[in-house]
Subunit: 92 residues, 5 copies
């Protein structure tokens, strides 16, 4: 799983029917010092996250479908938690 920040939303009125009802958020993966890492991507929201929040993102289709509660959903990334705190030892 990756640490990311929700930075936006996407509107797609014409979409796959199995995708209806899914809330889609734009998330930016972060480095340990909270700087952006790589490109932002789209994830379905499985926990009610909002823009600005630091979240836990799972990057895999089966897992993302499970997060959405629809095994057959055509998704490959999902937000599965809102991060309160990260503790780490940078010297390791």
């Amino acid at each position: 799983m990756q640490i990311a920040r929700v930075i936006g939303t996407v509107v797609a009125t014409q979409k796959h029917r199995k995708f209806e009802g899914a809330k889609l958020l734009l998330v930016q993966p972060l480095n340990m010092d909270d700087t952006p890492r790589g490109t932002a991507l789209l994830a379905v929201d499985g926990v009610g996250a909002g823009v600005h929040e630091k979240v836990l993102v799972v990057l895999e289709g089966r897992a993302a479908g499970e997060a959405l509660g629809k095994k057959a959903a055509p998704v490959d990334a999902a937000i599965i938690g809102i991060i309160d705190e990260v503790d780490f030892d940078g010297s390791l």
Copy 2:
């Protein structure tokens, strides 16, 4: 999921039988500022997208098969939505 633009088509008369009927489009992943990111790839079309359109692409086999409506299809990427609008806060 990734944001991409449909930039072309591919013709493959000799193909795997489970792949028959699938419309294959060439899509270019985009950065947030709509510049190209990485190499173009091929995705099956699950929503009736056309060349020039900005689309939502799922990059994973199970998910792409679901998008095509054929669980057993040998595919690894699919277009699952046509993007109307992307709203994001670049300062985050």
Copy 3:
């Protein structure tokens, strides 16, 4: 799916029993201008492709197993089509 060119073959007499009978080809992923992109990889052949041909490669285990017609095959890449023509608008 990726566009690639078949550039060779691999001989492996000692192999996993579920892998018996699979034809294994060495394929080089290509950029849109047909220059090589990254490293060559091995894919099982699902369509009867030959060396020099431009092919459509699926890069995912489930999908590759489907292409081989063996769900349980331990494979992660397969050739699923022979490309006749690629049409794209490079200005997009």
Copy 4:
């Protein structure tokens, strides 16, 4: 599987219900000489690992769900072993 070191923990009180009870650790992938490689990521703990330990990490959803003992868990990485010793011939 990858060799990594556990470097921290993450607290996420609001999380996906299928994720309850999973212990989440921050792991840093390592090169063969134990220097950090790429960015740290989050993995569920399947073996009772602790901070500072060198571990074996599986990076794939299905496998990580199996490690957690919950096939339907929305996870994509898991710690599946604690490494005692790595023997390798660097000249190969």
Copy 5:
């Protein structure tokens, strides 16, 4: 699938119970000219490979589990063949 060389072994006495009995080898992916490519990784052995041998590695969880003969195994890479010979046309 990738071409790699077995360069070592890993000892992990404390490991996930579904992982018991799996022989774990350290493999170094190779370029076409047999130079190392990227970082070494760990793969379960499905064919009885030994250190120094050039092998065929499958990088995907489902496939690796199949190679191990345990669908539910928490693994993401497996050795599925020992390579005798690679023939390729470098001019393509």
